[in-house]
């Protein structure tokens, strides 16, 4: 399978991504072999509220990059239902014009509600596509939950897309989301309220503490459906890429990514351990029942459950007694 992926075989790439999404042990082996072949692709994240026209924008970006002869991969991420576990993945609809272009790979992913799981699935699929020779990998996410933050930590350039008329735009965008943006796009710029949106973003940027060395995010006016502003966006991404390399930030970010990845994998396993402990360990389950009945406090129960791991916990540091008192 490794050789097929390196040769760009679509089925093998798709299968490998499935293994990574399913957290299959085969994926770990595969990634170990593919890892030395990665590092060539440039990763771009496109995020923003629903209705901002991200998929149409990405569709036009694909066309632009294809004209330059570049191979493009897209991963469109939509939220999974926390109740049913299912997902309706519709990003592909707007990009289907490229479905038979062998230089384009489009994959839809559900967020699958796993702690940090999205960051891992994203990182792993990026590596697979990188090793398979895609020059640009675009991740499209909706600004719901934590997906855009998780994805932003995995890409080189993050583009935040908004549209005029979302009410007071900036209020709509959550704190933390704005800060991840390297480039702002006001899409559907043919609508009323464009200048207001641009000004709102400018106002926000003016409140940021930026030094001369920092990259000042440009604000672009784009009308994706009419193919206006796409070239400017690609140039802005190129500009940001150059900044990252010239300033050394590129290497810093990739180093941080390595940290985030390992941390996420560790937390992932711990989360699984905790879940199993709380659902399958009778003592812990009984203790949780006592918390509910107000017979015992949650700190004491948590501390007890963690004993098995022999970690030095905060309670140990505080020197509290086993009964939680003091």
């Amino acid at each position: 399978m490794v050789q097929k992926i390196l040769a760009g075989d679509i089925r093998s790439i798709a299968r490998a991504i499935t293994l990574a999404e399913n957290e299959d042990y085969q994926a770990v082996e595969l990634l170990r072999y593919l890892y030395p072949h990665t590092g060539r692709s440039y990763l771009v994240g496109i995020t923003g509220p629903p209705g901002a026209g991200k998929s149409t924008l990405v569709d036009r970006m694909i066309a632009y990059y294809r004209k330059l002869g570049l191979k493009v991969a897209i991963i469109g991420i939509d939220p999974s239902s926390t109740f049913t576990g299912g997902a309706l993945l519709g990003d592909r609809v707007r990009m289907q014009a490229h479905a038979t272009d062998s230089g384009v790979f489009i994959r839809s992913m559900g967020s699958r509600g796993h702690l940090g799981g999205l960051a891992v699935a994203t990182a792993d699929s990026a590596k697979i596509l990188d090793a398979a020779g895609y020059d640009i990998i675009i991740f499209e996410t909706v600004g719901i939950g934590q997906s855009e933050i998780e994805v932003a930590s995995q890409v080189d350039t993050t583009v935040l897309v908004t549209v005029p008329g979302l009410g007071d735009d900036i209020q709509v965008l959550k704190a933390g989301t704005m800060e991840i943006a390297d480039i702002f796009v006001v899409n559907k710029a043919d609508r009323d309220g464009v200048e207001k949106s641009v000004m709102a973003i400018e106002q926000l940027l003016s409140t940021w503490d930026m030094t001369e060395d920092d990259f000042i995010p440009p604000i672009l006016k784009v009308t994706a459906k009419d193919n206006i502003g796409i070239g400017e966006l690609a140039q802005a991404i190129e500009h940001h890429k150059k900044y990252l390399h010239d300033s050394g930030r590129f290497e810093i970010r990739r180093r941080n990514r390595a940290v985030t990845e390992v941390r996420t994998l560790i937390l992932n396993q711990l989360d699984k351990w905790a879940h199993d402990k709380m659902t399958k360990d009778i003592t812990t389950r009984d203790n949780i029942e006592e918390v509910y009945l107000k017979l015992i406090d949650p700190h004491t129960v948590a501390r007890e459950a963690l004993r098995e791991l022999e970690l030095e916990t905060m309670w140990d540091k505080w020197g509290q007694g086993a009964d939680g008192g003091g």
Binding site: T84, A99, R112
Partner: protein, 129 residues
């Protein structure tokens, strides 16, 4: 906390422009816990097969209300076979006369759901195959 999902592609081949039924099934399948990739209207069999392979789906559901099912549905199966992806199972729905069903099944379509079929019947079928 199994993370493995069954993935299903819902597509409308040909020129048929009515997608309410397809969207209805897509939503019902999502509510049943599947990951549903919806490709939209006016898809060529080639585009559908390409999408199915990239998305690594287990199932492709084709919807056609315009009567072109006899040529379009088997074409999808054929292209999947050519691209060595014949393990991806295809089912269909829409305005399909019962007389056409045996021919379609012979061409490799696993099941046909005629108008009036409930979403539950589709879900149950997928779950048991």
């Amino acid at each position: 906390m199994s993370n493995i999902k069954t993935r299903i592609l819902i597509a409308k081949p040909g020129l048929d422009g009515h997608d309410r039924g397809a969207k209805f099934i897509a939503r019902a399948l999502r509510d049943a816990g599947f990951e549903v990739i919806y490709t939209g209207l006016r898809q060529t069999p080639e585009a559908i097969a390409s999408a199915a392979i990239q998305e690594d789906v287990q199932w492709v559901g084709l919807s056609c209300l315009s009567g072109a099912h006899n040529s379009l549905f088997p074409k999808v199966v054929e292209i999947l076979k050519q691209r060595k992806a014949e393990d991806i199972k295809v089912f269909g729905g829409g305005v399909i006369p019962s007389d056409d069903i045996p021919g379609l099944k012979e061409a490799g379509i696993k099941e046909i759901f005629t108008p009036g079929a409930t979403s539950k019947s589709v879900i149950d079928y997928i779950n048991s195959n």
